[in-house]
């Protein structure tokens, strides 16, 4: 074994040393509260605004349109509930998709419980929504469309610009959960007609517990966290200055290397996909082929194998990955994303997600390709489901 191979970068990433060094002074030397008026706090205020500028530049927004939050989940909650509550009593209709992150799905369910109507758009077998279907879902009282930029499980990138255009035409707010996309693929909120966008620092080598919500100037959304006057009175709580500094720096670095990194990771991704298809029988790629897929996402189903066992076997071999198997989820339900793209229970059971990162090397990929086939075939050999599957396959081919 050659050290640990971390292939769960969609779950979280480690903080960059350069980012950490940038953050450190704000824990001890410059610990002042940015709201205080003495000169000692000046540095902190400047640092906050520098970070706001870095985030704004990364997505082509204005600094005044960036609000720092406690992470992607808070940003998603704020966008949905804030837009809904801004309607002051009149309910209305929200359109989202079946494959959103739970931060969106559970917020939408919460609002549905309060009397708002929610439409969950289905997706095709690659995980993409149908624009015609979106057009057909608009109602007189639709006030918000929330569609994720790229999916965290299967890596599907949505036709965001087209969605933005449709929403603009109808004067409906467009929010996108871009937690998996920011820092990984280019985003331009102006060109893409995005009104609100959620992002999270720890998905691109920033610290955990800090994120941002982009709110286009003029968008009406209700405040979500009430308290002091921070973030122009829209998001109370003393600013997490070190975290915010880390967010800005991490994003700046990610944007600097976005071209080379996405090309490099796409190449490794395709090498991994091709290798698995060549060496493991009945491997099913979940999500799109090369086009329209996040550069770092690989997701397969291996019929006959259960995902949790796969993760533990890989862990023993020094590889960290994840699964959408029912057995590994606390609720014992299979991944809603895999079901939405039409997988049966047996296939969603045997799903394996590997998400690459800046530290992933060609050697890592080759090691996975050397290790995985034996793990799969050993577990398949002790699987009655695999036995049944093979028997049926033979019947079909005879």
């Amino acid at each position: 074994m050659i050290g640990r191979i971390y292939l769960d970068n969609a779950a979280t990433t480690g903080t960059d040393t350069e980012v950490l060094n940038e953050m450190l002074p704000y824990f001890m030397e410059s610990f002042g509260n940015p709201s205080s008026i003495y000169s000692f706090s000046r540095d902190n205020r400047i640092a906050l605004e520098r970070s706001r500028g870095q985030v704004a530049r990364a997505i082509n927004a204005e600094p005044a349109e960036i609000y720092f939050t406690g992470g992607g989940t808070e940003s998603d909650n704020w966008a949905l509930k804030g837009a809904a509550f801004a309607r002051r009593g009149s309910r209305g209709h929200i359109i989202t998709t079946m494959i959103e992150h739970h931060a969106i799905l559970h917020s939408a369910e919460f609002l549905a419980g309060m009397g708002y109507d929610v439409t969950y758009l289905p997706v095709d077998e690659e995980g993409r929504i149908d624009l015609k279907e979106l057009e057909g879902a608009f109602r007189e009282d639709t006030f918000l469309v929330s569609v994720m930029f790229a999916n965290n499980e299967i890596g599907t990138i949505q036709p965001v610009s087209e969605i933005g255009r449709l929403c603009k035409k109808r004067n409906v707010l467009f929010h996108t959960d871009a937690v998996q996309a920011v820092g990984h693929i280019p985003i331009d909120v102006k060109a893409m007609h995005i009104d609100m966008l959620s992002l999270s620092a720890h998905k691109f080598h920033g610290p955990k517990g800090v994120g941002a919500l982009f709110i286009r100037r003029g968008v009406k959304i209700e405040n979500f966290i009430h308290g002091g006057g921070q973030e122009k009175g829209r998001r109370a709580s003393t600013e997490n200055v070190p975290g915010i500094v880390g967010l800005g720096k991490a994003l700046e670095i990610s944007i600097q290397r976005i071209g080379t990194e996405s090309a490099r990771q796409s190449m490794l991704r395709d090498r991994l996909i091709k290798g698995i298809l060549e060496t493991i029988p009945y491997a099913r790629l979940n999500g799109p082929g090369e086009d329209g897929r996040l550069p770092n996402n690989v997701n397969f189903s291996f019929i006959g194998v259960e995902g949790e066992t796969l993760i533990l076997d890989l862990d023993e071999a020094g590889i960290s990955a994840s699964t959408g198997s029912a057995c590994s989820s606390g609720s014992l339900d299979p991944s809603h994303v895999l079901l939405a793209i039409g997988l049966d229970h047996a296939h969603s059971h045997g799903s394996l997600r590997m998400t690459l990162g800046t530290c992933t090397s060609e050697n890592d990929i080759d090691y996975v390709l050397d290790t995985l086939p034996a793990i799969i075939s050993r577990r398949r050999e002790m699987s009655p489901l695999w036995e049944d599957f093979l028997r049926n396959e033979k019947k079909v081919t005879i």
Partner: protein, 141 residues
Amino acid sequence: MYSDKVMDHFRNPRNVGEIVDPDGVGQVGNPKCGDIMKIYIKVENDIIRDIRFKTFGCASAIASSSMATEMVKGKPLREAWDLSNRAVAAALDGLPPVKMHCSLLAEEAIHQAINDYRERMGLEPWKEGPGHFAELEEHGH
């Protein structure tokens, strides 16, 4: 999250495989998460001489299958029948609460294999005790 014993039985499951000419076979599915277990037994003088299993399921399901087969091998059928999933879980130094249902798979598959054998012998199949279903309820299916 798993005990060392669970991990040991998961990594190196005992009694994996099939018996070519079995005296009894049991196959059960788990309604909770869709897992499957299949058990083969070879019986001599009312004693389980050999037992093999195949399991599609999580580490807890595989470890429970492995442990359960070890516990009933060489035992009289009645004793094997009385092995509860709780005893299997205890022998594995415990299972996480959400994973208790996985150990039921082994208990049920053994019951089925035994009754399959009894039917082949022209004997009346044994009935599940009342406690069994209480336990199913408890683990919330």
